[in-house]
């Protein structure tokens, strides 16, 4: 049997219409998993659902709306019968130098990237505990470990995900549930497209691989951590960054 087979598994992916989220959903689906796509843009969700074909559901939900989060967990479990794999990928940026950062920019990023992730995970973990199986994968970021000027809010939220994941990993390990993070470095997505050529050049100067990463390279890490084979890996952060930071 090939490794990392996900036939019969059910996965919920948030932020599924984003560059990395879309690649994660496609990769889990390609390994055989049934996938529920969650995102804020209904049209983009439908497009991806159509592209993937069978074994796919789509649910529009906002991660800054507690009622949406509750409904998402419930509806995804109803649609698939269970949730084995939860990929918390939804995330936003509101970059600003700290002196200029508004409360609203700080609050929003923490609310969506960290608080929303906790609430959704809490809502999903009950079923995982009952079934004695679960894979929670939180998409954090290299900046959560290294920091980044202009991203105090984003870096704080992403660092928060790592600490949260380690705590949950300890709470849930005895129930067959692993909780890990994947920390992308500089990946070619709409989120990084907005950077100027000059900014990109400066960042690439710090990447030993000398190129941007691809969303598929992040998805491959998520597939591994979702698999039966990764049962003994928990509380870890898998850095996929072309050598940009070795930690």
């Amino acid at each position: 049997m090939p490794m990392f087979d996900l036939n019969g598994k059910a996965a919920l992916v948030t932020g599924a219409t984003g560059g990395i989220g879309g690649a994660i959903a496609r990769a889990l689906h390609a390994q055989g998993a049934t996938v529920t796509l969650a995102g804020t843009r209904a049209e983009a969700l439908d497009e991806l659902r159509t592209a993937l074909g069978e074994r796919v559901h789509a649910i529009a939900a906002r991660m800054d709306e507690p009622a949406d989060i509750e409904r998402l967990a419930k509806d995804a479990e109803a649609a698939m019968g269970k949730i084995d794999i939860l990929v918390n990928n939804a995330g936003i940026t509101r970059d600003n130098i700290s002196m200029r950062m508004k409360d609203e920019e700080w609050d929003k990023v923490l609310q969506v990237n960290l608080t929303g992730t906790f609430k959704l995970t809490r809502a999903v973990m009950r079923g995982m505990m009952k079934r004695r199986f679960g894979r929670v994968i939180n998409i954090t970021s290299i900046v959560g470990v290294t920091g980044n000027p202009g991203q105090a809010n984003y870096a704080a939220a992403k660092a928060g995900l790592i600490g949260m994941s380690k705590s949950l990993a300890q709470e849930l390990a005895s129930r067959g549930i692993t909780v890990n993070c994947v920390a992308p470095g500089f990946i070619a997505t709409p989120m990084t497209d907005v950077l100027s050529d000059e900014q990109k050049k400066a960042i690439l100067g710090r990447v030993p691989s000398g190129r941007l990463g691809t969303p598929e390279e992040i998805a491959a890490g998520v597939v591994y951590l979702s698999s039966e084979e990764a049962a003994y890996v928990t509380g870890q952060t898998l850095h996929i960054n072309g050598g940009m930071a070795m930690i």
């Binding site: 009950r126 505990m129 709470e171 849930l172 129930r175």
Partner: protein, 79 residues
């Protein structure tokens, strides 16, 4: 109301994988029935679901034996 006691015991047997004979009213979940802290959380959640009640954290802390659980639920259950 003895029905409540039976339902509580059934949940305990199912969740902890213990023999029904072990589930006496004075049996302590952790010391006598081998539950860990996560088991006790799961049990409380299972009781909440079964009886349609809410067990606040401070009340949950006091539920240490099967009899404690039955007593609390008898005092608070709607069904």
């Amino acid at each position: 109301m003895s029905d409540i006691a039976e339902r509580v015991k059934k949940i305990v047997v199912e969740h902890l994988g213990v023999e029904a004979a072990q589930v006496k009213e004075d049996a302590k979940f952790i010391d006598d029935l081998g539950a860990d802290s996560l088991d006790t959380v799961e049990l409380v959640m299972a009781f909440e679901e079964e009886f349609g009640i809410e067990i606040p954290d401070d009340a949950a802390e006091k539920i240490q034996t099967v009899g404690d659980a039955i007593g609390f639920i008898k005092g608070n259950a709607k069904s």
